[in-house]
């Protein structure tokens, strides 16, 4: 009864894995963004569906179009295209024409990711690159904010959403400036509770700070996010605005206002933490985060724009390879003291 030996494989150890995979991590971010996305539907109704849907569709189309045929299904399954489209959509004004959102999503993937060599190779955050493209191309539409809750209820749509491609976007009847815009150009301070809950003008995803924080906590619990980056950015912004407040409490925003206004939470928790475009070393993450926080405040307070999160993150993205190079961790046993 001689039994045949099994054909043995020679996979190199370690044979064990910790269980987390990259697509799972991407899906975790989608889950973390779900509450904030839900809030954008609540505040902006069908318009949110249209804008988010258009930008996701643009991103996924680019992903599909530029993938090589063999790995086409694969690159869609890892959810990175959907994630980029969603992140971009959340930074857009609710009244933006759908075709612009679609174009933005397409550009995010095509110019933000594919031409760099695909996932893991891009220098800039794709969603923010897409947004920068839209802001440069359609400055009026990208800075026309509408107030939450369209008059006709959930199923009514801001007129701007349905504008035809390359036609001037019709300006909506009920426009509302963002809290940062109000502060900068009209010296008007929005109450903090409105900021936290989202009863303000602003982009789709930036209005409800509490839900964004909640998603961040989820990501932190799942170890999908380098906590140093949001903590560093928000901490820097708080400290910066605290000291500004010492000079002139009337003119400058309070620390909490700074944290909860604009796209800071969305940017600090979901965009600056994009592992591909942020430093990989722990010290580098601190430098990146503090740099982003300082740039945000400089642009907001001293720059010509009311909001600076996007440019702050993109600028620090560009510095990431350099930061990584000069913040390599101290290797075990190098420069250590010899005696106990």
């Amino acid at each position: 009864m001689k039994q045949k030996d099994p054909d043995l494989l020679l996979f190199h150890a370690p044979l064990l894995r910790q269980g987390m995979t990259t697509p799972k991590a991407m899906r975790d971010v989608l889950i973390a963004l779900a509450p904030a996305t839900g809030a954008s539907l609540w505040f902006f109704g069908m318009s949110a569906v249209l804008v988010l849907g258009a930008s996701i569709a643009g991103a996924v189309l680019a992903e599909w179009l530029f993938a090589d045929r063999a790995s086409r299904g694969e690159s869609l399954r890892d959810a990175t295209g959907v994630l980029t489209g969603l992140l971009l959509g959340l930074t857009l004004p609710p009244g933006l024409p759908m075709w612009m959102a679609f174009l933005g999503g397409f550009v995010s993937i095509a110019l933000g990711k594919v031409i760099w060599g695909g996932l893991g190779h891009n220098l800039f955050n794709p969603a923010l690159l897409g947004r920068a493209f839209l802001l440069a191309t359609f400055p009026i539409a990208m800075t026309t904010w509408v107030s939450a809750h369209p008059e006709g209820g959930f199923f009514s749509v801001y007129a701007g959403n349905l504008a035809l491609p390359f036609m001037q976007a019709p300006v909506d009847g009920v426009t509302a400036a963002t809290p940062l815009g109000l502060l900068k150009f009209e010296q008007e301070v929005t109450p903090l509770t409105n900021l936290m809950l989202g009863k303000i003008g602003g982009s789709l995803g930036e209005t409800n700070g509490i839900l964004l924080l909640l998603g961040g906590v989820y990501l932190w619990l799942r170890r999908d996010l380098d906590w140093r980056i949001p903590v560093g950015i928000l901490g820097t912004v708080v400290i910066f605005s605290f000291f500004l407040g010492l000079f002139d409490a009337e003119r400058f925003p309070t620390p909490l206002f700074s944290v909860f206004s604009g796209g800071l939470l969305l940017g600090a928790i979901y965009m600056a933490t994009d592992p591909v475009t942020s430093p990989v070393t722990p010290r580098g993450a601190w430098i990146f985060a503090i740099g982003t926080g300082v740039l945000v405040m400089l642009i907001r307070v001293f720059g010509g724009l009311p909001e600076g999160v996007m440019y702050a993150i993109l600028l620090m993205n560009a510095a990431t390879p350099l930061i990584d190079r000069y913040t390599q961790p101290r290797v075990f046993g190098h420069g250590a003291e010899k005696q106990p």
Partner: protein
């Protein structure tokens, strides 16, 4: 700050694989019956291969010298059984390559005993003679590396060893050999430790045990005598806690400088199995001719902790454990994190083989590799604080020289990075490729 670090009893980074020890941790060590054929490779330790001193046809006793050290970093080999040498020649080794070995046919009627008085009296030996006796007993590090023990014990003049550290961490999943030895042979462990401590002139013996072996800690504590300076240190359960330099960091809070040895921080580290082998030789006359092996994993019918004579084929070991389950895909010699896969069941159990682990589909499924997204999990895993993500990228680009700037030669290949990588990138394998290439590269003529 320094005091704080000393209190922590830990090293930084590392990973937490499920330890999978339930299969065998409560199973007493059993002896495998003697088989018929034994193959003793001459190069089963790190260093120069041994030199055979027997020829085909020679009768050998169990424990008789069959090969002498081939140099300083080399050890002796002894026959694991009474029998006859059938061939001295090339046999297929664990890595699939042919290498010189001595084949022995066992005498089926022998009682297979060793002469209990074969060893010299350790108390009367000078340190040099003691070290030579360890070499002639064929004793090597039993934790897996199989580094000749006498080399570790040879301390240059002027270097003092203050602490004898006994490594009972056994941080590799599945393996329970040291665990069982600590429970079943605590006297032998403490005897061996005392021999080493006295010969090295160390002030104290420290036994480091991971916290998931409370029964081992309890058993050894019960056998401690007040006149022996031994203390037990409970270590956090974390891989690679049993890596020599990590353990020193955990126990003493000291980092062994890169490129230096534990003796440079006045410590000598030995594995539990090695210390027991020292006691078995000097007190019971048995050179290193058998060892404890854990046979476990999802593909083995009856997992066990076994005393296996060296040179026994994996086939005989597995057969004793009820054979392989259907669906066996891979057999690892050693632990699942750092062990080596074997290509054939006919390879022999060696001095450094702490486990025979049989894996099935689940552990060997081909995992899809994704691009590196620089998530930094490997950096947080690497106990040496390297940048595995960068090293893997450079290795893929075949930029091996640049990898030296990122301290590739500090890598001990523990596999934490590959374990932690969510993109399933074979990081440690890429690093090994680069190291091999850099080491074997021919220097251009000057």
């Amino acid at each position: 700050m320094k005091v704080f670090r000393r209190l922590r009893r830990n090293f930084e980074h590392g990973v937490h694989p499920a330890h999978h020890k339930q299969q065998t941790e409560n199973l007493p060590i059993q002896r495998v019956p003697f088989g018929k054929h034994y193959i003793m490779p001459l190069g089963q330790h790190i260093g120069v291969p041994s030199r055979a001193v027997v020829a085909a046809g020679d009768p050998v006793e169990r424990g008789q010298l069959i090969a002498e050290p081939g140099g300083f970093v080399s050890t002796a080999l002894h026959s694991p059984v009474k029998g006859t040498v059938s061939k001295v020649g090339d046999f297929r080794g664990v890595d699939g390559r042919f290498a010189p070995a001595i084949a022995i046919e066992a005498d089926p009627f022998a009682t297979q005993e060793v002469d209990p008085d074969a060893a010299p009296d350790w108390r009367s030996l000078s340190l040099e003679a003691f070290i030579e006796a360890v070499q002639m007993a064929g004793i090597v590090g039993m934790g897996g590396a199989a580094f000749p023990s006498h080399v570790k014990l040879s301390v240059p003049d002027g270097v003092k060893i203050r602490h004898l550290l006994i490594n009972g961490a056994e941080c590799e999943p599945y393996l329970t050999t040291d665990h069982r030895l600590m429970i079943e042979r605590p006297e032998a462990l403490l005897e061996g430790a005392e021999i080493l401590r006295q010969k090295l002139g160390a002030e104290e013996t420290v036994i480091g045990i991971e916290a998931n072996k409370p029964d081992a800690i309890e058993t050894i504590s019960r056998h401690l005598s007040p006149d022996q300076p031994v203390r037990i240190v409970t270590l956090k359960v974390k891989y690679p806690q049993g890596a020599e330099k990590m353990m020193i960091k955990s126990v003493f809070g000291t980092e062994v400088p890169a490129g230096r040895l534990p003796r440079d921080v006045e410590v000598n580290v030995n594995n539990v199995g090695t210390v027991v082998a020292i006691a078995d030789y000097f007190l019971r006359g048995m050179p290193l001719i058998e060892r404890v092996v854990t046979v476990a994993g999802p593909g083995v019918s009856y997992p066990a902790n076994l005393i296996v004579p060296l040179g026994t084929s994996v086939r005989d070991v597995v057969k004793f454990c009820g054979g392989l389950e259907a669906g066996t895909r891979e057999i690892i010699m050693g632990g699942p994190m750092m062990g080596r896969p074997i290509a054939s069941l006919d390879v022999p159990v060696l001095k450094g083989c702490s486990g025979v682990l049989v894996f099935t589909e689940e552990q060997t499924v081909r995992r899809k590799e994704y691009p590196c997204i620089r998530c930094g999990r490997c950096l947080e895993a690497c106990p040496y604080f390297l940048n595995p993500s960068r090293l893997a990228r450079l290795s893929k680009a075949r930029m091996f020289d640049e990898m030296k700037d990122y301290n590739v030669f500090d890598c001990v290949e523990c596999g934490c990075c590959t374990f932690a990588c969510p993109s399933n990138i074979p990081i440690v394998q890429l690093i090994r490729t680069a190291k091999d290439d850099l080491k074997n590269r021919k220097e251009p003529d000057a």
